[in-house]
């Protein structure tokens, strides 16, 4: 059964130094608040798994929480580069970052395999691509029935997965709607799973066949309204495209980035304090314009 906890307590109890951690959410429902809390609590040596590292992993990498990144597309969507990811890969700042690189189809299949309790995933992929040359974990397997040679990749089985969803009921059953990405697979592939939600309600009113994660498959549910910002929560708020643009100059320099996380993340007690501070900063910037 999932316990209803504050995000601070959930991270304290379920995220450890050295863990393999997946924060999933494909453009939609990215668990940003959880990344902030992991930075506040100073977790170290994490192996980060995520199809699209996005701003959440740019944050964790720049803050020095990560030793390794497993990913399949590392850009700032609609804007350009993830500067902290690039600085870590190209210059080893703030520490060297080992990368293990896949394609989307590969990682999506690897999550499915992880949730299925299988050791590896099989897919038709990578013929003619150089990715297997730089990632020795991309191997091949021969179909015992047809003889076809297919790609084999290890399943993803995180120590802990964190996802964000629209709502949970008071028992901790979670409803996810809209673009699902690999959230369900990432949740079920992990040993422990934390779900942050927009709100806790009496009745989920989930339509038949809706994506519901039952409470007994989860470790903790944490109410964090707005916790997917700057991504969006379908039915609650839209993607903050402006923030994705604003992130580019913030993350471009080491000094600018460090000053930003010192002020807005390490300098705030929790996500609601972060939101308040962000709101004030934006208001001041608007008045200055």
């Amino acid at each position: 059964m999932a316990e209803i906890l504050t995000l601070r307590e959930a991270v304290q109890r379920f995220v450890n130094d050295g863990d393999t951690l997946a924060l999933e959410g494909f453009t939609h429902l990215i668990p940003s608040a959880a990344a902030h809390e992991i930075i506040r609590q100073g977790r170290k040596d994490l192996t980060l798994v995520r199809m699209t590292p996005d701003l959440v992993y740019d944050l964790l990498i720049g803050a020095g929480c990560a030793k390794k990144l497993i990913f399949s597309w590392g850009g700032n969507p609609g804007v350009g580069s993830l500067h902290r990811l690039r600085d870590a890969v190209e210059k080893g700042w703030p520490q060297p970052l080992e990368i293990e690189e896949h394609s989307h189809a590969d990682l999506a299949n690897a999550y499915v395999a992880g949730a299925s309790g299988l050791p590896f995933a099989v897919l038709r992929a990578y013929a003619g691509s150089d990715l297997p040359k730089v990632n020795p974990l991309i191997r091949s397997v021969t179909c015992p029935f047809t003889g076809e040679v297919l790609a084999a990749v290890p399943s993803v089985r995180p120590d802990v997965t964190v996802i964000h969803a629209q709502k949970a009921d008071r028992k901790g059953n979670v409803l996810i709607q809209g673009i699902l990405g690999v959230q369900k697979e990432a949740a079920l592939a992990a040993r422990r799973c934390i779900v942050t939600v927009e709100e806790i309600v009496d009745d989920l009113k989930a339509p038949m066949n809706a994506c519901v994660l039952p409470t007994w498959a989860l470790s903790a549910v944490c109410p964090v309204p707005g916790g997917a910002h700057p991504s969006y929560a379908h039915g609650y708020y839209e993607r903050d495209n402006r923030f994705y643009q604003d992130w580019d100059p913030i993350a471009r320099s080491r000094e600018g980035f460090t000053a930003w996380i010192d002020a807005f993340i390490r300098g705030t007690a929790d996500f609601s304090a972060f939101q308040e501070k962000m709101g004030q900063a934006r208001l001041a910037a608007q008045e200055a314009e």
Binding site: T52, P77, G78, L123, A125, I179, R239
Partner: protein
């Protein structure tokens, strides 16, 4: 005749390649712009699939990210990302994969991973995303990108997504389903694979573009087919639809979509 930019010519020429009866797996950026222009002009029934999960998306504005909410709201159905790649792409249901690229070579292979050595990169690019399997499993592939000697290179530092491999029948030898890339549409011209070698050659120059311009902006010794056509200039319907789409996008997002 309306005036138009070379970028508009590129998008219109790419959109024209997408038939009304096709199922298209759409990359973000320029491919998404061209595919939606096709849907808003000659191909109202084209099925657009995005890797985040929407099938049959009909956005009124261009998505900034591959998983914008409007893609889900306007789709016929939204499925998990794993299912997109497993059932719909690998299952053989995609007619056209529509891709962008950071770099291509003369056989339509794509690099979106790295410039320089992989382990000591000069420039680290975003990486593969969905492209390797789209390039592998779609029945055919269209590639759209702006042309320069830095993007059209003789030798790729890294092959992220395979086109015709080393040319000739190499792609078939690799056991890949599908025809691979059938056209590269740029702001200067259209290239198509030459029969036999599968080397991309110029088959159509956009109006006003010279052979010398194409040669200057290609990193390999580009060849031209025997009878090079002149691309039909964008007509009023196409340009109006494109400009209205871009205006709606700018109004909705506060920035233009899809110049990635």
């Amino acid at each position: 005749m309306m005036n138009y930019s070379t970028n508009e010519m590129m998008t219109v020429a790419a959109a024209r390649r997408l038939g009304n009866d096709s199922v298209c797996f759409v990359g973000i950026g320029l491919p998404s712009k061209a595919a939606n222009l096709a849907r808003l002009t000659h191909a109202p029934d084209v099925v657009l699939i995005y890797e985040s999960g929407p099938i049959g998306a009909k956005p009124s504005v261009l998505p900034l990210s591959i998983g914008d909410g409007e893609l889900a709201e306007t789709a016929d159905t939204v499925v998990p990302t794993g299912e997109i790649f497993r059932y719909w792409l690998q299952g053989g249901r995609i007619d056209v994969g529509f891709l962008g690229a950071a770099q291509v070579d003369k056989y339509g292979n794509i690099n979106t991973t790295v410039i320089g050595d992989y382990h000591q990169p000069k420039v680290r690019l975003p990486g593969a995303g969905g492209a390797p399997e789209i390039a592998g499993s779609a029945k055919k592939v269209l590639i759209i990108l702006k042309q320069s000697h830095r993007t059209f290179v003789d030798k790729l530092a890294f092959i992220t997504s395979v086109g015709h491999g080393e040319g000739g029948d190499h792609r078939r030898q690799l056991g890949l389903p599908g025809a691979g890339p059938v056209a590269i549409i740029t702001d200067l011209c259209i290239m198509e694979p030459e029969a036999g070698t599968n080397e991309f050659v110029v088959t159509s120059l956009h109006p006003g573009v010279t052979r010398e311009q194409v040669i200057e902006n290609t990193g390999w010794a580009i060849r031209f087919t025997d009878k090079v056509a002149v691309t039909e200039a964008p007509n009023e319907t196409e340009l109006t639809a494109l400009r209205e789409l871009e205006a709606r996008t700018a109004a909705a997002h506060g920035q233009a979509g899809g110049e990635e």
